[in-house]
């Protein structure tokens, strides 16, 4: 560690960060942008039903599986071969299909958890999950949130992990993309009563997009050492036996005392360790690609068997934003104006990149209380890498900051470092990224349809400013679309703030590990995560309690489906409209001006709604730290 002189550097910010850290972040964004077009092109073909054009012969390879699925499930189709299409649905029918599909998912995941003790695939003989936790987990995985109030390796059998949680990772992600496909058809179609067929969309998205990508990523992760086995936990001899004094207790659990009043204890030497294993790689691949985030192991992607190397870390964090970013290109392709897709991607990057950089800087500078003692921690100045508390040495500050920003921008929720140990301002940014409504990339499908709701608000505001009737892609934006868009914007905000307020007020909410502003941050983070379907955990909050299982479960359900329903209503409404020809008075929505306008709408709504709450938590904690 280098004890440096802060005054030697003109800029403490630049002095704290390192060249390799900046290079890693820049490389990540460059690779992400490079993959947007090829994957976006494939997804557009799939969502438009042109699966015969899918690359690598996937159309022919998987076509029989697709059509067999239709026959097996009794899904009515028209036409033949690659041109086969589903019977069209109105938006209300589409919404009912999505709700019923996810209700079945809930029942299946709940039943698997409750019955796992009597089912196969349970080599560690794990007991059934408690009903409250099972309810919370089933809602969590059905809604693509993947909030986990339990430890995976000690709570879930292999069968529950694979058949319940792993399958839901695919299906909840498929639901998000299917709803987006319906909205894009609503924008693209003219005078149509229908927006597609939800069963066909769910089948195609899962079969042609999620499954192939997951298989490729799972194999790549196995090559890096991510575990994939059906063997039970392994016992290994410790290289250095561990000795400690274990207190002796009576039947009532009280520690026995010696005659001198000291505790009675017995010396224990531990010579072996139990290492949990399991089919992790296959679940991790889809958990990242589908922006799910639920870890196979309790410590999620910080676990060495879930994310062992720098390369596995890069592949996983790339997978997190890959589909949400590529869907922007898919959007442009489907509405026959690629500039519109690039504009939305640009808006996301304009918000994401500075917040990523700020997270990195806050963490690289280290803990202000430590720095104030004259201890140099900034990694750019030869320190030990900034605030390394709760971070993995193999990832360092830059990759931990990247992961935190990417997973909270997307609705992923996995962690490779403990966000509870971030500096107050470093932890504020992931929290705020969730509170922005998960529209900066966001979940697969859900991020883009959320952003399109902000677009509707944006064109409406712009219309008010210039005195013209608002329209988007030639479709008039009328009061009905605005009402639906506002429901989408306000529901997550209300769930987050009301949930936090209730948790702070009632005694059952007081399960935090710290007092003061940090405790408030832990609660606010939990409801921001559940209320925006992220699933990220701050750590520190004991959330596997009846109160949190219930309240967070309700927040997750309503933040998912009370947005999907109005989005589909907008899709149905827009599909029925005619397209107005563009005139000199039409607001162009592909220009930098509109991109900045959209960014302003997202940021202002997020700031106005959550700054007071953030001031009570991370901002107050930061001020306490620097005042010491």
């Amino acid at each position: 560690m280098n004890v440096g002189d802060l005054t030697q550097h003109a800029s403490p910010v630049l002095a704290a960060i390192s060249g390799s850290g900046i290079l890693q972040l820049a490389l990540y964004i460059a690779v992400l942008i490079a993959l947007v077009k090829p994957l976006g092109w494939v997804m557009a073909r799939v969502l438009e039903g042109r699966t015969g054009e899918a690359p690598l012969g996937l159309g022919r390879l998987l076509g029989w599986v697709e059509h067999g699925t239709y026959r097996l499930c009794g899904i009515a189709t028209e036409g033949a071969g690659a041109g086969r299409r589903g019977v069209e649905m109105r938006w209300t029918t589409y919404a009912a299909g999505i709700l019923i599909f996810n209700a079945i998912g809930f029942v299946a995941v709940y039943a698997l958890q409750r019955l796992q003790g009597a089912l196969p695939g349970n080599p560690a003989a794990i007991a059934p999950v408690e009903p409250g936790s099972a309810f919370n987990t089933a809602v969590s995985f059905v809604t693509n949130t993947n909030w986990q109030g339990y430890g995976g390796e000690t709570t879930m059998s292999y069968l529950t992990q694979m058949l319940g949680l792993g399958v839901q990772n695919f299906l909840s992600a498929g639901t998000g993309i299917a709803v987006l496909a319906a909205l894009l058809r609503g924008l693209a179609r003219r005078s149509s009563a229908t927006i597609g067929n939800c069963w066909i969309d769910l089948t195609r998205v899962t079969l042609y997009i999620l499954l192939p990508l997951s298989m490729v990523l799972a194999v790549a992760l196995v090559s890096q050492g991510v575990v994939q086995t059906f063997r039970g936990p392994a016992k290994v001899a410790l290289m250095t036996p561990l000795s400690y004094a274990e207190p002796l207790k009576n039947a009532a659990g009280e520690t026995l005392k010696n005659s001198d009043g000291s505790d009675q204890s017995v010396a224990v030497t531990v010579r072996e360790q139990v290492i949990p294993l399991g089919p992790a790689a296959s679940q991790i691949a889809i958990k990242q690609l589908g922006t799910n985030g639920g870890g196979f192991f309790n410590t999620n992607s910080a676990h060495p068997l879930e994310n062992p190397t720098a390369l596995s870390n890069f592949l996983q964090v790339l997978a997190i934003l890959l589909i949400p970013a590529a869907l922007c290109w898919t959007f442009g392709e489907m509405v026959r104006d690629r500039r519109q897709g690039w504009a939305l991607l640009a808006a996301m990057l304009v918000i994401f990149t500075p917040l990523l950089a700020a997270t990195y800087v806050f963490e690289a500078r280290g803990n202000p209380a430590v720095v104030s003692l004259g201890v140099e921690t900034g990694e750019g100045r030869g320190g030990d890498g900034g605030n390394m508390e709760g971070k993995e040495a193999r990832f360092g500050v830059a990759n931990s900051a990247l992961w935190a920003a990417a997973t909270t921008a997307a609705s992923n929720g996995s962690v490779n470092a403990m966000h509870d140990s971030f500096t107050p301002l470093g932890g504020l940014i992931p929290m705020w990224l969730m509170q922005l409504g998960e529209v900066v990339f966001g979940g697969v499908g859900s991020g883009l349809y959320g952003m399109l709701m902000f677009v509707i608000v944006g064109v409406f505001v712009a219309g008010l400013m210039v005195g013209r009737a608002p329209e988007y892609l030639g479709k008039k934006i009328e009061p009905f679309e605005m009402k639906m868009a506002m429901v989408c914007v306000l529901v997550p905000c209300a769930l987050t703030l009301v949930g936090t307020a209730v948790a702070v007020l009632v005694p059952e909410g007081n399960t935090t590990s710290n007092p003061g502003p940090h405790a408030f941050s832990q609660i606010l983070y939990a409801f921001s995560s559940a209320g925006n379907n992220n699933g990220s955990a701050f750590a520190g909050l004991s959330a596997n309690t009846p109160f949190y299982n219930l309240s967070l479960g309700l927040a997750m359900w309503f933040s998912r489906f009370w947005i999907i329903v109005p989005v589909l209503a907008v899709a149905g409404s827009l599909a029925a409209k005619r397209v107005s020809p563009a005139t000199s008075g039409t607001l162009p929505t592909h220009t930098p001006v509109f991109v900045l306008m959209l960014v302003a709408v997202v940021v202002i709504v997020g700031a106005l709604t959550f700054v007071p709450a953030l001031a009570l938590g991370p901002v107050a904690e930061h001020l306490q730290l620097v005042a010491k």
């Binding site: 299409r85 149509s192 299982n549 209503a569």
Partner: protein
């Protein structure tokens, strides 16, 4: 929490969401002219919109 209460709670949430579908459909203006089904290119009768 018991199994029955968890299941009842879930189906209550599901019911409320179906109710939202009905409310949104009720709020949607019904004066859209000449809606066509892209599959058959036929005009959809008012009663089925």
């Amino acid at each position: 929490m018991f199994d029955l209460s968890a299941v009842v709670l879930f189906f209550t949430c599901l019911g409320l969401t179906f109710a939202l579908v009905r409310v949104c459909a009720w709020l949607q203006p019904q004066d859209t002219p000449s809606i066509k089904d892209p599959a058959s290119n036929a005009t959809i009768p008012e009663t089925y919109r």
